[in-house]
Subunit: 318 residues, 2 copies
């Protein structure tokens, strides 16, 4: 195995980076887009100090660059934000793969290396306010690249800031953010609700799923009451009506339920396709199921397909 | 003045304490309920360590007790919670002044002194979940004690956890909590929204009120979308569409708007009476006005009237 690796690296044509807020993932592609190597490190944008992105990049990709110093690179995610290496301004919707490919931003800090940064997207709600995403566009185009063009697709990307992305005929037409993950996290860590909750020693027990379901049902039924419903985490705990170990699941259900109710009301809903880690995906698929909305699960790491498709479409690789 | 004080203290008949999470306020009453002295200290329940409530009480009231060691005491607020001095279990609604007065809990730790703790209230929403309050019951009965019995009253008590309390003919019939203040605080301090916001150097500028109004209008129009609307604080800042100094007011408007829309939908709405500090009251009254709901402002410190009324009704004083 160790002796084969150098030979495989010689087949490489592209480095793809998903460079987010907290982590950096990289793929070494051959010319058909197959993954020769994959790596990951806690080198997210927030972990890189004093703007030393070039150093972080060269350390992360050292062995790949040693074999092929002229490899082109394409990077998506927060690396293209104002706090990142080079700002790649948000591109307005509707946006197709070729629009995005034509808007890649060149980083010329690295002598002799072609390095492209993928822009985020901006859309405008009917109410007039803007919404933005960065990184998710590459995941969505990665999935669109691997399937037959469907007339309408709805991608659900839960996380710190959940993104629901609507596509028509291969084009991102609009999207909508909900701050579910961050609300959950700050409520758990910093609010009075967190002080009552106990992290369960065993995950995914029937009792926890039952508490999650109760939260989902209430959040779905009254999303406008979420500021009130959140307080039921406290009131039910104070009155001994819900065990401390079940409060995290109940809180999660309330927030996810309210998110889903709002999204289903605000967006057209072809069958949602959930893009998430297995744990998070199972919560969203279960919650969607309670709303009688069947959903699909996307394959893991769609961003690598998106990075390769964008590199190809932009002419960065043949 | 200094020579008169001891004489006035001799007229005292009751000590009333509003003993909350962060602060302790006390009043020395004469037998007509007039305030002889008032004091306040940052001696809230969370600031008292190792359960040394007796020491905190004796220090706070030292000069009052020196003159009249046998003065009876009545205390409301978090001092009656599980984390306080003595738990006074929540009393179910509907609750009238005499029900509450009959449910005061005696603290017998203090040799020879009559010390009563006011219970909180518990109500149950149509959806089946409980809601609780503690301390606000005394403010509400304080206001009810100073006015002619009205058929229906709605009291709005904004704060960390806003309480909207509905009364009929002098009885608290139901109430509803919204976690607005705590959400604002943790979003400002711990979320990605807070990092973009700048505390304005000058308060209450027209620009800030305009940002507040924009938030209110959006929150009122789409309370079910609050998890989405919160993200507009970020997206509008990123796109330069709202100045960093206006983000705190806009965020406040979004949360208060969503709260008001939910409450007006969930509760009957006789003219709301707002009980709050002037700064907070002006925000709520302005936001209610944008919903074309006229409101009244309660007089300051209604809890002192409530404490005196409860002490009287319970027979703690003649």
């Amino acid at each position: 195995m160790a002796r084969e690796a150098p030979q495989r690296v010689w087949q490489s044509t592209l480095i793809g980076l998903d460079w987010g807020t907290t982590s950096l993932r990289g793929w070494l592609f051959d010319e058909q887009g197959r993954v020769l190597e994959r790596r990951e490190a806690p080198l997210g944008v927030l972990a890189v100090t004093d703007g030393q992105f070039a150093e972080a990049f060269e350390r992360f990709c050292a062995s790949w660059l040693e074999a092929r110093p002229d490899l082109p690179v394409i990077a998506s995610g927060m690396i293209g934000s104002r706090q990142g290496w080079r700002e790649a301004p948000y591109l307005p919707t509707p946006a197709a793969l070729d629009t995005l490919a034509g808007a890649l931003v060149s980083l010329d800090d690295l002598a002799g290396r072609r390095f492209r940064v993928v822009p985020g997207l901006v859309t405008r709600a009917a109410g007039g306010w803007p919404d933005v995403l960065r990184g998710e566009e590459t995941q969505v185009f990665g999935l669109l690249a691997t399937e037959a063009a469907a007339s309408e697709r709805l991608f659900v990307l839960p996380g710190t800031h959940s993104k629901w992305v609507l596509c028509q005929a291969g084009t991102v037409t609009s999207f909508r953010t909900c701050m579910t993950g961050e609300l959950y996290s700050i409520l758990r860590q910093h609010s009075i609700l967190g002080r009552l909750a106990v992290e369960p020693t065993e995950a995914d027990t029937p009792e926890q799923w039952s508490a999650f379901d109760a939260g989902v049902d209430r959040g779905v039924a009254a999303p406008a009451s979420i500021g009130h419903l959140l307080f039921t985490v406290r009131s039910e705990a104070l009155l001994g009506e819900r065990a401390p170990e079940q409060l995290p699941a109940y809180l999660s259900g309330l927030l996810i339920g309210a998110e889903i109710a709002d999204m289903l009301q605000a967006l057209p809903t072809p069958m949602p396709c959930v893009i998430a880690s297995p744990g998070l995906a199972s919560r969203y698929q279960r919650a969607l199921g309670r709303c009688r909305v069947p959903s699909q699960l996307a394959e893991d790491e769609p961003s690598r397909h998106g990075l390769f498709a964008l590199a190809h479409q932009s002419g960065l690789i043949e």
